[in-house]
C-alpha cells in the first residue's frame, strides 16, 4: 500500500507543526515522492538529524509502505 502525498504531509506536520512541506509525486505512481521540508525545529541540527526527524514523523513507514521519498530539509529562521 502506497501513501498519498496528503498523508505524507499530514504525518510530517503532526510531528513538526511549523513545517512547510512541499511534496512532488516524481513518477505519478503514488509511490515515488520528493519532499522539501522547512522547519524551525531543524535549527542547529545536522542533515542526518534533520532527516531522522522526518523519518520519525513517518513512524516506520519509510522504507516499507513508502518506497521512495527523496528528502531535502532546511532550517527555518
Amino acid at each position: 500500500m502506497a501513501m498519498s502525498a496528503r498523508e505524507i504531509e499530514k504525518a510530517i506536520c503532526a510531528a513538526l507543526p511549523d513545517a512547510e512541506v512541499t511534496i512532488t509525486d516524481l513518477a505519478g505512481d503514488g509511490d515515488h515522492y520528493a519532499a522539501m521540508v522547512v522547519s524551525g525545529a531543524f535549527k542547529g541540527k545536522t542533515r542526518v538529524q534533520q532527516h531522522k526527524m522526518v523519518y520519525d514523523a513517518l513512524a516506520g513507514r519509510m522504507g516499507g509502505q513508502l518506497h521512495a521519498l527523496s528528502l531535502q530539509t532546511a532550517a527555518k529562521d
Binding site: V48, S70, Q72
Partner: protein
C-alpha cells in the same frame, strides 16, 4: 559491543573500511537508482570505497537499518561516521561540501 552478532559484524566492517557503502547491487551493477546515484557521486570525486551488497545478505539488509537507525539503503560511512543516504550525499556534492568533507578526513581523491 552489542549482543547482536549482525551488528557486531557491521561495526567491524565500518571500522575496517575508510569509506564503506551499503547498497543494493554492486558499483558496476547497482540494483536501485538511489544506490547508483551514490556510486556515481563517489566515482566522480575519485573516492575509493568498499561496498556491501545488501541484496546478497538479508541479515545485513535489515541489520544496517537498525544499526544506523536509518530506514533506507544506500548508507554511506566514512571513517566510522554515518554520513547519510543518497539525498544527503547528493546534496553535499551539489553544494560543493563533499570534497572538503573527504579531504578533512584524510581520504584521498584521485581525479
Amino acid at each position: 559491543m552489542s549482543s547482536n552478532p549482525v551488528h557486531d559484524r557491521i561495526a567491524k566492517e565500518i571500522a575496517e573500511n575508510d569509506v564503506l557503502v551499503y547498497m543494493k547491487g554492486t558499483p558496476v551493477f547497482p540494483q536501485c537508482g538511489f544506490s547508483a546515484a551514490v556510486v556515481q557521486v563517489l566515482s566522480e570525486l575519485g573516492v575509493k570505497f568498499k561496498s556491501v551488497d545488501v541484496l546478497k545478505d538479508a541479515e545485513v539488509r535489515q541489520g544496517i537499518k537498525e544499526f544506523s537507525n536509518w530506514p533506507t539503503i544506500p548508507q554511506v560511512y566514512v571513517k566510522g561516521e554515518f554520513v547519510g543516504g543518497c539525498d544527503i550525499v547528493k546534496e553535499m556534492f551539489e553544494q560543493g561540501e563533499l570534497e572538503g568533507f573527504f579531504k578533512e578526513r584524510g581520504i584521498s581523491l584521485d581525479v
